[in-house]
């Protein structure tokens, strides 16, 4: 693995279409009514190209999860335009959200089953997917017998089983230890490349965003809005401790603290 990561050409190579995978225009989401109304998102614009890896960073209250719910089709915006290219995206949560009564293999299989894949083909696909996330030896284990990182890999395999082209991740590694997280960064990056996915990754960890994304979008808090965008142009193998990653993370981090500070005075 030594390719240039932020090579902007991916969009062209993985899909002939020029339409973006996700296009949001003036997306606004208001919870509640009248005086108690909370504006979670306020006129948010965002475009994610096919095959790209975009990270969203923001402090608490920036409406990150609301945004992902809207893109995933679990929630509707109060106003604004949401355009998704192709099928409904799939979503991975901070907690793996595996079904505790099913084994690892059965959890992945359920995604196939709900899509109507015939049972013989299901078994083969499940084996391939578990192999892909390096969990072949744990097919018969139940979620509680796995570590947090392993559960997230099962969730990843389950999401891939849906064959969605767009993968949304809502702080998926937030609850993991640093060693596990580093390995899962590599894992996710590898799968993104091999499968030609479009990824929208939400995190409050700026370093993680710079480590993974081709582009980092900074969101303001209450209301959530895209306030700045940073292309990540770092050649070669990227690691979370590389100086280039740190340098950009510091720049983004400063802007993020400014966003947070704004709320202290109000």
């Amino acid at each position: 693995m030594s390719a240039v990561i932020a090579d902007g050409n991916r969009a062209v190579t993985s899909s002939p279409t020029t339409a973006p995978a996700i296009r949001l225009e003036g997306v606004t989401k208001v919870f509640g009514r009248g005086g108690d109304a909370v504006v979670a998102l306020d006129g948010l614009d965002l475009t994610v190209d096919v095959g790209s890896f975009v990270c969203l960073v923001g402090a608490s209250g920036c409406g990150k999860s609301t945004l992902l719910n809207i893109v995933a089709g679990l929630d509707a915006p109060t106003s604004g335009l949401v355009e998704i290219d192709g099928d409904r995206p799939t979503l991975i949560f901070q907690e793996a959200a595996l079904f505790p009564w099913l084994t690892t293999a059965e959890n992945v299989e359920l995604a196939l089953r709900l899509r109507g894949v015939p049972s013989r083909q299901r078994r083969e696909t499940v084996a391939d997917l578990l192999d892909l996330v390096h969990l072949s030896g744990f097919a018969g284990k139940r979620p509680h017998e796995l570590s947090g990182g392993m559960r997230q890999r099962v969730a990843l395999a389950r999401a891939l089983a849906q064959e969605a082209r767009i993968l949304l991740l809502d702080e998926p590694f937030g609850a993991l230890d640093a060693i596990t997280r580093d390995l899962l960064h590599e894992e996710l990056e590898r799968i993104w490349r091999d499968a030609g996915l479009t990824i929208l990754f939400v995190t409050h960890n700026v370093r993680e965003a710079v480590r993974l994304g081709q582009r980092v979008v900074l969101l303001s808090s209450r209301p959530g809005r895209a306030v700045a965008e940073f292309p990540v142009v770092i050649g070669g193998e990227r690691r979370i401790e590389s100086p280039e990653v740190s340098a950009l993370a510091i720049t983004i981090g400063q802007q993020l603290s400014e966003q947070v500070r704004r709320h202290a005075s109000t």
Binding site: F99, H134, S147, Q162, R165, I191, G196
Partner: protein, 296 residues
């Protein structure tokens, strides 16, 4: 989407895979299982000691002369009587009638409770209408139903089954309802992301998630069914038909204290056996599979 490249064909030595495998091994909790025999012994001896103490206390009370022995017989007399009734076949006849009633009554209660539970879960209006009524019914002492049951069905098995169903069905319905109410929202979201809708949502997400609470409801339903049945068999004596309750009643009428206590032991043992062997076993295995108990 490009087909995913299987690792074996990826060619290169998959270093990431090796590191992940190492981490996985470290993170998997090593399960040390106690051998089966050892577990049975560990669980068994405190129960045996408790039983011995109870029998000893009973014997002491008898020896103290608090009540004459024809009113309060010693454990040895009672177990002798139990053996005699067993050998004569009376016990088997009575127990089989009672167990048949228990099985039919409980099956009907599961059917009725299950249907009511599903309807209430699916319909908001129905829940508003009868939701609290079901809980109310649960608190109604089942013995209070018998005058009405006897009025409606005379001294018949139907009267007994009627009360057994009324006693057990609300708990069964309530277990199902509370199970569905408490499905973790995260699992519902996961189900939606996977595209589980309509019937598939119930089949693959809601019902399996509600299973532990539903089993708890079934277990409580059994306890109510068994109590209602015993009350019914004491009150509704069907001429020419024996049963555990009828035997108990006859023993009292003939002042046969050993027979009476022997029958009470039978009632207690059946209740415990069904509860422990059937429900607790099922409950424990479900909870263990989901990682809800430790040291399973």
């Amino acid at each position: 989407m490009r087909p995913l490249r299987p690792l074996a064909e990826a060619g290169a030595v998959d270093q990431l895979g090796t590191r992940l495998a190492g981490l996985d091994t470290l993170e998997i909790p090593s399960l040390r299982r106690t051998p089966r025999f050892r577990r049975i012994v560990d669980a068994g001896w405190p129960k045996l000691v408790a039983l011995a103490i109870a029998l000893g206390a009973w014997e002491l009370v008898v020896l103290s002369g608090w009540k004459p022995p024809w009113l309060l017989p010693s454990p040895a007399t009672v177990f002798g009587e139990l053996w005699r009734e067993f050998a004569a076949g009376d016990l088997v006849a009575a127990v089989s009638v009672t167990l048949r009633r228990a099985a039919i009554g409980y099956a009907l209660a599961v059917l009725v409770g299950g249907i009511i539970g599903v309807l209430v879960v699916r319909s908001k209006t129905l829940r508003a209408a009868v939701g609290s009524l079901i809980t109310g019914l649960q608190t109604m002492p089942s013995i209070a139903w018998f005058p009405l049951a006897i009025l409606l069905f005379q001294l018949s098995e139907t009267a007994i089954l009627f009360v057994v169903v009324l006693g057990a069905a609300p708990s069964i319905a309530n277990g199902l309802i509370s199970g569905v109410d408490h499905v973790p929202p995260l699992l519902l979201r996961a189900g939606r992301v996977l595209g589980a809708q309509g019937l598939a949502k119930y089949r693959h997400v809601i019902l399996p998630a509600a299973l532990p609470a539903a089993i708890a409801g079934l277990k409580q339903g059994w306890a109510f069914a068994w109590r209602s049945l015993m009350a019914g068999e004491l009150l509704v004596l069907i001429p020419g038909q024996t049963s555990v309750g009828a035997q108990l009643q006859f023993s009292r009428e003939f002042s046969d204290a050993p027979g009476l206590i022997a029958m009470m032991i039978v009632i207690l043992v059946i209740g415990i056996v069904v509860d422990v062997v059937v429900f607790s076993t099922v409950e424990r295995s479900i909870r263990a599979r989901r990682g809800l108990v430790d040291g399973a």
